[in-house]
Symmetry: none
């Protein structure tokens, strides 16, 4: 997993968001075993406690299930995963349009500009 941490915000919410995205994107499948806190922490280059905090939040979100002795797994609840995915998408879209409007564009302009960008650059690779 690729980590992308921004010094200007707290780390644990960023870990939470990025893991959440990885799960809803299917990078970790429903029911799959999940890496240990220690491993993830090392991978992300953060302290174990920091990663632990993110995992605890994700458990609160219902995305991870903890078995105190045998590790964690991704929830089996595919409906929940889909629901969260759609909520995140919705928020992203609204946020995008809001920000474009705050720059002085209309929603239609914003969408058209995004369209042009995807067409030109073929941003869908990667």
């Amino acid at each position: 997993m690729e980590w992308n941490l921004d010094d200007s915000r707290s780390i644990w919410p960023q870990l939470r968001e990025q893991i959440m995205r990885a799960i809803v994107a299917g990078e970790y499948k429903p029911g799959d075993a999940f890496p240990t806190v220690r491993d993830l922490a090392q991978d992300a280059g953060v302290n174990r406690n920091t990663m632990q905090r993110a995992m605890a939040e994700l458990e609160g979100d219902g995305l991870l299930i903890t078995n105190r002795t045998s590790g964690r797994k991704v929830t089996d609840d595919q409906k929940l995963i889909l629901k969260i995915k759609e909520e995140l998408a919705q928020k992203n879209i609204e946020n995008f349009i809001d920000e474009m409007q705050s720059l002085g564009y209309t929603a239609e302009e914003a969408v058209k500009m995004a369209e042009r960008v995807t067409e030109k650059k073929g941003v869908n690779d990667k």
Copy 2:
């Protein structure tokens, strides 16, 4: 001006961003006189030092000009304003698409979903 501050990040960059957006959106016109730090700080509910920091950054960006005798004003450089506006728009768009991709959508899907949202809800009002 409407302030929207998030406790989980430093305040001054948020002030800077929001004022920057207000300028490029034309809420403050090129050459216009700018409110005092004192007034803005009170309006935003932040400490004067914090607002001062944001203003200093905006001067560094070239958007605000301090005139020792007559206070602050918005730059006359319309080209600069336009350039910043387009850069911000570009960043917003790329950021939007990146995040949608991290959720598992393609860039095309992302744009289509945004299109649908603007059509349905008539989000173009403000």
Copy 3:
């Protein structure tokens, strides 16, 4: 037997308490043969060592007797069972009243509220 285990405390004391309650409630009769550690552990979904620890404590309490040849049985000492039952009841009552007082109720109010609950809901079934 129904097990009700709470991850946030050590497991063996909970096993001990719940078996103890089952014995004083008469679910296991004085002198009766007792299930094997293996079976109980499987039933409760815990490790055998954990259940073993609970059994050892219950022997220390005098409630269980190990007979090298014939396995474990519940004690014949009905007086002991009754004494423990009354002690547990006493502790429960005191604990209940203490907690209600810590919420700001008097002991009388606490009892009255409990009375109302039992009357309304007919909680005496099980």
Copy 4:
């Protein structure tokens, strides 16, 4: 405030519960300023981080309001406080009756025994 910590459970939930009880019992009034994390931690004899965790949970419960620079205060929402108080009382009562039933008493017997205890000992002092 009197702290009563039990080694066999995690500390932070106990801190949370005890502070919660103090608030619903009116020991801290709605709208009142709340002691600093540092002071409370020292008073309870725990690390600042541990107390911080408890405070964060209480903020999540809506009982405490945090102002990042000027400290915390108890919520003004008296209805919320009352609601939580009643929920806690309800849980206490149900828990009490459940435990008495698990010992082999009926709900009525449980209530009567509690009644007798309060009458005899005048437990309402303290």
